[in-house]
């Protein structure tokens, strides 16, 4: 089959990879209908965490089940399915507490490479959620978004305790940040401050429910959020970048007793303990337990109450994955959908 492989920073190739097959009774094999490039894929692409050998890429997927292992019972051949970027059994104590990305049997789907024609999904019963039927074509981008960026933005908004009467600020205007805005809106936030200096992203943030745009960054951005919140800071802040500056901007924009949901994959971040102590904000972050939210998100998409697929501003054939990475790296695209 064809699949994307990262050879070195900036060097993504689509080439023949071995066809995956059922290995465990709990596996499902899916034909990938749509995959995409994640903001987190850009870290190794940019050489920040470069692979030492060629690695398959991609961890977001919508597919159709081609075959199931003998132990799989909740999805069947022909089902359209969405899964998270971590396979999880959804039965262990950690999963039952809602933290499926840290399932005791978790498998990172990135290691299997979803930017490909076919994908083996471990722990299929726990990982995959079937859509209510065959999706209309225009729903596919939104279902694909649910696989990671929507689920991640949703987790961040939940961690930031977005809800009625709350002001939520969002640091980061990539797909996750934008869908954090959408999630905060769905969860009932009263005021949503999108921090962005890019006009097209500002426009999408406003469509997703942002009430205010702040273009300043760092300490100036913090000062603007405080101005907008009576000097106190936001009730909750979504951090969707992963740098020292963005983390500190998020923490400092949050009022005492408020909540920071941080989902940008952390790179080179060191949090000063003393400042964190006196900031007295709730911190929760990490790889989103997308599986916790998938049934609800699929329902919202299926009933067309949300349209998260709008974060995809470009669609390319899988064979053009290299251009997809380059476009996102150069910020010519927010997020690129790949059609195998």
């Amino acid at each position: 089959m064809r699949g994307a492989v990262l050879y070195a920073p900036g060097d993504v190739r689509v080439e023949e990879r071995a066809d995956p097959a059922i290995e465990e009774p709990s596996d499902a094999l899916i034909r990938v209908v749509a995959a995409c490039v994640c903001g987190s894929d850009l870290w190794p692409y940019r050489g920040v965490s470069a692979p030492s050998r060629p690695v398959p890429m991609g961890h977001e997927y919508v597919g159709v089940v081609e075959e199931t292992g003998a132990g799989v019972s909740t999805v069947g051949v022909g089902d359209t399915v969405v899964g998270s970027f971590f396979a999880s059994d959804n039965t262990c104590e950690i999963c039952r507490a809602g933290f499926q990305a840290r399932c005791v049997n978790a498998v990172p789907m990135g290691s299997l490479g979803a930017q490909a024609q076919y994908l083996r999904v471990p722990l299929a019963d726990g990982t995959l959620v079937a859509t209510p039927g065959h999706p209309d074509d225009d729903l596919v981008p939104s279902l694909l978004a649910a696989s990671d960026v929507l689920g991640t933005g949703w987790f961040a908004a939940v961690a930031a305790q977005a809800g009625p009467g709350r002001t939520i600020a969002v640091v980061g205007d990539g797909a996750v940040g934008l869908l954090g805005v959408l999630a905060a809106k769905q969860l009932g936030a009263e005021r949503i401050v999108a921090m962005s200096r890019h006009a097209p992203r500002q426009a999408l943030a406003l469509e997703f429910g942002a009430t205010d745009i702040v273009t300043e960054r760092g300490d100036d951005g913090v000062a603007r959020v405080k101005e907008l919140t009576g000097g106190l800071g936001a009730h909750g802040v979504i951090e969707a970048v992963g740098t020292q500056e963005s983390m500190m901007q998020a923490i400092r924009s949050t009022r005492p007793g408020g909540h920071v949901g941080f989902v940008g994959v952390s790179h080179g971040v060191e949090l000063p303990g003393r400042e964190l102590f006196f900031a007295q904000v709730h911190l929760l972050g990490g790889p989103a337990p997308v599986r916790r939210f998938l049934p609800e998100l699929i329902d919202l998409i299926w009933s067309r109450r949300i349209d998260p697929g709008r974060v995809f501003d470009r669609t390319l054939p899988l064979d053009d994955a290299a251009e997809a990475y380059a476009a996102m790296d150069e910020r010519r695209a927010v997020k690129v959908l790949l059609r195998p």
Copy 2:
């Protein structure tokens, strides 16, 4: 009046200080019935954060109201009162959200010096809680504990989400850690792991409700907590020290999705962002909003359902404050009560 003053590391003197007086209509003036030395007082005493000039010491107090400003209405002359180590108005948005130590008008009581015969308490209506009547002498230590160490341990236990069915680990066996054990027990925790290698403190932890004692520290301590919790880690961990080692021990002892309540005043701590990201624990800490809990804590003490005053293993006259500091510094005492 007599009051304790820190001149330099290791140099605490009790000397004549100016008598405090009502300065604002919201002030109350109290005669201090009991004060004490806090673990956090040892940081400047040890020179870790040394004062550049002589400073009054002490921020824990039980007293009797001597005089009130014209605007004070909730406490009156003759009332026995307990307050927190931060004066707070208890009416601002931050106070109403339960984070009174970060009140927009907060005043650190340490700057006024509670290790003294008299104390001016700003924002008396918001800060002070009167006891139901004149306390029996044997209740005074427990009421004094409520002023800081009990309230702080309680906040940490709430932040660690101690409750039925939960396993809570406690890092630190000072007064706050020990009262974190008591709080976790009161909040219904099923299993409470006290981390201590000091026999008298272990004994008190067991009396307060600890079910397990772990003597190992650092990574070995983490491994023991995991062993006790099916490999997952505790549901919640109370951190009551404030060092890099204790913070990392707390975070690493917590299961994914679990909660860390950190109340040891942070010294030299830098939290690695990437580890925190993948640890996926809830973090909340800082100066405890003791005022949030004071009415409930006073009620528990008054009805003799808890006896937190047991953390005081020595009582000295105020004039012997220097010995009180030395005894705690050398770990000859857990906590010393001072009688002005």
